[in-house]
Amino acid sequence: MALSSNSLDIVLFAALPYLVLFTFLLVSIQRYRAQTFSFSSLSSQLLENKRHFWALVPFHYGILVVFAGHLVAFLIPRSIVLWNSQPLRLYVLEVTGLVFGILTLVGLTEMIARRFTNSKVRKVTSRLDALLYLLLLTQVVSGIALAVYYPWGSSWFATNLTPYLWSLFRFQPDLTYITGLPILAKLHILNAFVVIGLFPFTRLVHILVVPNPYLWRKPQVVRWYRPAPRNLT
């Protein structure tokens, strides 16, 4: 039994990551070359705008902060451990993560509800979209559950997950860091790999072409067609 679970770990956490990364890179590049204009979120904003806004905004604020947190713990784990060495700072970090995790869930739930209850939007929803929503929901719910049931994840991510992820990038996968993790944490990691593998086939590709220059381009002059407020004239 131990052997079989161990070999399952090897398949899921040492082989699968390379399979999904390979797929991610290859298909993304190929899709960009062959169908450049399919690199889009295929937004349904024109079909329905109100619920779209209230779903998309919390989701994106949430996911960006949560993703940034994971990235920081991956890039500078020692700084996270040092930050967490003071309990108050640890609590601040954990609560912040939880707040933005819940914000992501709120947005995602509304996104899913809108997509499947609004008839116009449902018409442009594919099976792959449904699968993607299911995977994203699993990812967000397992992440929040980890924060709730296995607290101080910001600390143990830095000491156990980061070295594991780096070992993957060094092409020397070291499973000793994660084999003892609870099943919920393994589900979170595994589901992330599946999302990365599916990434280039879905509307998630819009992440790769996010219009960053919007952040630093010069402001544009917008002229309203309605009369200017009286106090300006």
Binding site: N49, K50, F53, W54, V57, P58, Y61, R78, V81, L82, N84, S85, Q86, P87, L90, Y91, E94, V95, T96, L98, V99, F100, G101, I102, L103, V106, A147, V148, Y149, Y150, P151, W152, G153, S155, W156, T159, N160, P163, T176, Y177, T179, G180, L181, P182
Partner: protein, 302 residues
């Protein structure tokens, strides 16, 4: 202008005061190591034959306590420079067992030691001599063992008595671990406070007993823990404090924040974020037409 000169003289005065203070500190530091130094220096000065006779001296040394024990500078040097990778008769570590070098001619052994400078830094000629003499001595292993014992005794003497309050501070991260390891509460809980990734340590002292608990902490026996503390071991002193804390924990009220209030804070925080967004964007999503219609309605009413 006067003010400028005034500032400059103040700066000069401060610089002079700083230099003076630096000199005093440097002098103080120079004095400190001078006290343990004389022993090795004097034995180094006695040249070749001297380190060979000492082997007979360390034997009575334990009775004579510290001063005589300090005299085996060869073994001391071995412990500082070589013992990280080599043993004498204790088997290979990163480097080979050096027992076989006892049969080497001294003129071959010394260059071999000098070649190790790439790993241990510059060695003085007298250091090379001392090490060569030690490795050629028939009782090298015994001398090194004696030195190890002396170091262990010295370390034990330096350790503070176990303190449950310090242990609790280490456990919950109020006091960081010396080598930068995670505080225990990141994964373990005591009396309902702390993480739940790993075993709850409430009552672990009663279950395991002092020595096994201590060796589990210091030896880091579990795979997840081994990964987390790789290169950042928990020290003997810290282990002693932690064991003491775990021994007394059931009787104490721990100071770590329990988790549920943080969950509530998370939910409240998310609620506030949603409310904030709603308020901030409440006019945003009306659309141009809605505003025009509203305007027209207002105008037609007035």
């Amino acid at each position: 202008m006067d003010y400028f000169i005034h500032i400059r003289t103040r700066i000069w005065r401060r610089c002079l005061a700083g230099v003076a203070a630096g000199l005093i500190v440097a002098w103080g530091e120079a004095q400190e190591p001078a006290s343990p130094d004389p022993a090795p220096a004097s034995s180094a000065a006695t040249e070749d034959p001297a380190p060979l006779p000492p082997p007979s001296e360390p034997a009575p040394a334990p009775a004579a306590e510290t001063p005589a024990e300090l005299s085996d500078s060869g073994a001391q040097l071995f412990m500082q420079k070589c013992a990280g990778c080599h043993t004498v008769g204790g088997g290979a570590l990163t480097g080979p067992d050096l027992k076989s070098t006892q049969t080497w001619p001294k003129q071959n052994l010394e260059p071999a030691i000098v070649r190790m400078e790439k790993n241990v830094g510059k060695l003085k000629p007298e250091d090379v001599q001392l090490l060569a003499d030690l490795l050629l001595a028939p009782d090298a292993a015994a001398r090194i063992a004696e030195e190890q014992k002396r170091i262990a005794k010295q370390q034990m003497a330096k350790l503070e008595p176990a303190n449950a309050a310090v242990g609790r501070a280490l456990f919950f991260g109020h006091k960081p671990l010396a080598n930068g390891g995670l505080s225990c509460a990141a994964c373990h809980a005591v009396n309902g406070h702390g993480g739940s990734l790993a075993a709850d340590l409430t009552g672990s002292f009663a279950k395991l007993g002092e020595v096994p608990l201590g060796s589990t902490i210091e030896g880091v026996t579990f795979p997840l823990m081994q990964a987390a503390y790789a290169g950042r071991p928990i020290t003997k002193q810290e282990t002693m404090h932690l064991v003491k804390y775990l021994e007394t924990a059931p009787a104490q009220v721990s100071s770590g924040m329990s988790v549920p209030p943080l969950h509530a804070a998370g939910v409240v925080g998310a609620g506030l974020a949603v409310t904030g967004l709603t308020r901030y964007y409440r006019r945003r999503n009306r659309g141009v037409r809605a505003a025009l219609v509203q305007d027209a309605m207002r105008r037609s009413r007035s």
